[in-house]
């Protein structure tokens, strides 16, 4: 009988499938890669072949250029592809646009590498699909019982209330360029905010791409200054979305008395917010929180739970209490801060 770790195993380059001779989300260039989603630590340039959803392939092309891989293999959700006798099927993960879990079937066993995922509704991508399996490979970014993300709408209301309260100041919302930024913009639209939202130059391409895939983002404009004189006031009372790194940068100086907001699951912990000088923390994450992680394991009831990047200790302990066989994979190269 084929052992489970003969079908998928951790290696320094990423999760490897020996019978299929492919890697899932490899962190270094390989001949054949299956990519779960477009975040830079999962989707890297320079592979021989990339199997991913159409959206993920488009995201990689937008970020790395059209020649990011030699051969593209767009796969529709739910449709299997055979790679050297191993069946690979992508099913939705609910993380960002195009994100998928990789279902790997071989010798009567089913293993699911879920990549990054969340369970709550996200208006910019397809929701997580539960599928039974022998091995469920989960992330553990927020795998501590202190991480319980509140309702998105409450966080968006906090932002809108602050905008009303400080009409003379610009609200700078730090959000990762892929996924989080578009989700916030979309959530603001759902909350009835129809004014122009200003975006950092680094986000333009990805916002255009989301629009092209049917995610309506409403009126957006670059956060650039039209004229030198009195330019700062252009942004009074406005919402500006940019990558978090830009807020430490000279770029942020163009805004009047900015209110520093940061949209991240880490914002749950006050010390994190204070360290970053965040005035308005928005607890919005594209990763599963503690309850979502544990609910998912209970929903799927895998024979084994394999845990990748994050706080694997706590999830391993929880699995032990639940009587679920669990093992940390200690994969390297995935960014903890990426949320």
């Amino acid at each position: 009988m084929t052992r489970l770790d003969e079908i998928l195993r951790p290696t320094p380059k990423g999760l490897y499938c020996p019978p299929g001779d492919f890697f899932i989300d490899p962190v270094r260039p390989v001949d054949r890669a299956v990519v779960t989603h477009g975040h830079a630590d999962h989707a890297r340039a320079g592979h021989g072949a990339v199997l991913a959803t159409e959206e993920t392939i488009a995201i990689m092309a937008a970020r790395y250029g059209e020649d990011f891989t030699t051969s593209r293999q767009p796969a529709a959700l739910g449709v299997s592809t055979a790679i050297n006798g191993v069946e690979v099927t992508l099913i939705p993960a609910g993380h960002v646009l195009g994100s998928a879990q990789a279902v790997v079937e071989y010798a009567g066993k089913r293993l699911i590498a879920s990549g990054d995922y969340k369970r709550r509704r996200d208006p910019t991508c397809v929701g997580f699909e539960v599928m039974s399996c022998d091995v469920f490979i989960t992330e553990a970014t927020f795998a501590l019982p202190v991480f319980r993300h509140p309702d998105d709408r409450g966080e968006i209301d906090k932002l809108l209330a602050s905008v009303r309260r400080f009409p003379e100041r610009a609200h700078l919302v730090g959000a990762y360029a892929l996924g989080k930024a578009q989700r916030i913009i979309r959530l603001l639209r759902e909350a009835g905010y129809d004014e122009t939202i200003y975006i950092h130059g680094a986000m333009q391409k990805l916002c255009d791409l989301y629009e092209a895939f049917g995610v309506a983002l409403g009126p957006l404009a670059p956060a650039t200054i039209a004229s030198k004189a009195g330019a700062k006031n252009d942004f009074a009372g406005k919402i500006v979305v940019g990558p978090p790194s830009a807020f430490a940068d000279k770029w942020a100086r163009r805004f009047p008395e900015p209110v520093a907001c940061f949209a991240s699951g880490w914002m749950r912990v006050r010390a994190r917010a204070r360290q970053r000088g965040v005035e308005l923390p928005l607890i919005l994450s594209d990763h599963a929180d503690w309850d979502e992680l544990t609910d998912t394991v209970r929903d799927i009831q895998p024979q084994e739970l394999w845990i990748t990047h994050g706080r694997e200790d706590a999830l391993t302990r929880w699995a032990e209490l639940e009587g679920v066989k669990a093992r940390p994979l200690s994969l390297v190269g995935y960014e903890d801060e990426h949320d």
Binding site: F147, V269, Q275, G277
Partner: protein, 535 residues
């Protein structure tokens, strides 16, 4: 409780003073009695609440969840109250969330054993932010960056009254301050301030600038030393003894030795200092020694022996029930001296009036004071009544010139609020015998906006390493940026590797011209240290 939790949450993350005042006034306006009063008392740390010990909190959380999972969480978060508030697994069907007043009153009426049970029940009824506020409240760990002075300033803004009126009233008030809020909202009488032992708002001095000196008539002024301690008001009347800071905070509990000595009926203005126990009274010790007795709720026996405190008085506001504040300074002074005809009292002595006839003599005295604990001169108009606040032209403080050193920029940290995109907090060092730099201080003001841009540019262009929001800057004998740093004094410090700590350091000039290797050396700083009178 919801509103109180929101308030704390916002206060913790709002760096600007005006922002904090605005949050407080909005809260006072929107919250009914008695909750707003209890909130105010919690913020000024005047609230007495039956505390729940951290060990009890651990016990109630261990009762609800796996210990190992909680410990992993605590390791990550690093704050007990916050970890419990976030990890607390709520039970379904809990009661409505309690109001702040209800929590305070119920807890104070309960037995010690019931405290943790009550807290557990409330935790079930609240969200994470409410739980955090509750736990901070019952563990007495409400550190939210609001001083009692700031809270009073917010009250003044809320009621459109001068802050001195609030200070004057403050110690006659009872929690939850219902009469105070009624008065501030124009719905009630001004609460009676003049209960025995009340605080009189203090009279303050202006710094003496060159043009003020030119216009000064030396004959009209009395000169005193400006002592390097803290300004206090010692009140003893009708059997009530209090020691107030200059903003009206009662600090008596930390200074029982001084309060004991107030065996007269008077209200005195003076400087709180510590002296060397082995020497004849009262050999003043450096400010750093006084600091060991500040910001404490109580004081140990040992500290009372090694760091005895006393008051050096310079003004008399009231004596035997007679209010002297409307009288001339020199008349008050004469009455003050009458209290010391037999020499220094126990733990109180008199700050001398100096016999200095002209401006040259004043300048000479200021430049070379006879004691390290003197930081300059006070000049008081002989005819001045005692008026709260900072009346123009009545009292002057003429501080000694600051110390100056040339130091090398070593690290820079990003600022907050408006400065969050600038590296605006600078750590600088001086050369040691090993020819390495020892950090000696940190400064974040003293430069213009234009200079800030230049400094920021320098930091960005010469970064050698990064640690979170901090950048290490290239600093070598042949390359580095020299900052001329001004400071008011130097203390010995065991906490700093360099062995020294600066008081009020600021950047006085940027020495773009000066080679880093020619910056000052640590020996130079050590030579500037004051002698400790006890040593």
């Amino acid at each position: 409780m919801r509103a109180f939790a929101d308030l704390l949450e916002r206060l913790v993350l709002t760096p600007q003073r005006n922002g904090k005042i605005r949050l407080l006034t909005e809260y006072f306006a929107a919250t009914p009695d008695p909750d707003r009063g209890y909130a105010l008392a919690a913020i000024t740390r005047d609230l007495e609440i039956r505390s729940v010990k951290p060990a009890m909190l651990r016990a109630i959380i261990y009762d609800r969840m796996d210990e190992a999972l909680f410990d992993l969480s605590y390791d990550y978060v690093g704050d007990l109250a916050e970890t419990i508030s976030l990890a607390w697994p709520s039970k379904a069907g809990a009661n409505r969330a309690p109001e702040l007043g209800e929590i305070v009153e119920t807890l104070n009426a309960a037995s010690r054993a019931d405290g943790p049970k009550l807290v557990a029940g409330w935790l079930d009824a609240m969200d994470a932010s409410g739980r955090w506020a509750l736990l901070k409240l019952v563990t007495g760990g409400l550190r939210i960056g609001v001083s009692s002075r700031l809270a009073k300033t917010a009250l003044a803004a809320f009621g459109d009254k001068p802050v001195t009126e609030i200070e004057e009233l403050w110690h006659g008030l009872q929690i939850p301050y219902t009469d105070l809020f009624a008065w501030l909202e124009g719905k009630g009488e001004k609460p009676d301030a003049e209960k025995p032992g009340y605080f009189r708002p203090v009279m303050l001095a202006h710094p003496l600038e060159a043009r003020d000196l030119d216009a000064l008539d030396p004959d009209a002024f009395a000169a005193e030393w400006k002592w390097d301690g803290i300004r206090i008001q010692a009140v003893s009347e009708g059997g009530v003894r209090r020691l107030y800071s200059r903003t009206g905070d009662d600090i008596g509990a930390a200074f029982p030795d001084v309060v004991d000595a107030l065996d007269l009926d008077a209200v005195m203005d003076g400087e709180l200092l510590v002296y060397a126990p082995a020497k004849p009274p009262f050999a003043v010790r450096p400010f750093a020694e006084l600091q060991k007795r500040l910001n404490r709720k109580t004081v140990s026996k040992k500290l009372l022996q090694t760091h005895p405190a006393f008051i050096r008085v310079y003004d008399l506001l009231s004596v035997d029930g007679e209010d002297l504040r409307a009288q001339r300074f020199e008349d008050r002074r004469a009455r003050l001296e009458d209290l010391f005809t037999d020499g220094p009292r126990k733990r109180i002595d008199l700050s001398p009036v100096l016999n200095l006839q002209d401006k040259d003599a004043l300048a000479a005295a200021r430049a070379a004071p006879p004691d390290d604990a003197i930081e300059g001169l006070m000049l008081k108009r002989r005819a001045s009544p005692y008026v709260p606040g900072r009346p123009k032209g009545e009292w002057w403080k003429w501080k000694r010139d600051p110390f100056l050193i040339d130091a090398v920029l070593m690290y820079a940290q990003r600022g907050h609020g408006k400065r969050s995109s600038f590296y605006s907090d600078y750590t600088f060092g001086v050369w040691t015998e090993e020819e390495t730099l020892a950090p000696v201080g940190k400064a974040y003001f003293g430069f213009t906006d234009e200079e800030l841009k230049q400094l920021d540019k320098f930091v960005r262009e010469h970064t050698t390493d990064r640690f979170g929001p901090v950048r290490q800057v290239r600093a070598e004998p042949d390359f580095g940026l020299v900052l001329e740093v001004a400071f008011e004094g130097l203390n010995r410090s065991a906490r700093h590797k360099s062995g020294v700590a600066m008081r009020f350091p600021r950047i006085s000039r940027i020495r773009w011209d000066k080679p880093a290797g020619e910056a000052d050396r640590l020996e130079t700083l050590h030579a500037m240290l004051p002698g400790d009178a006890s040593a």
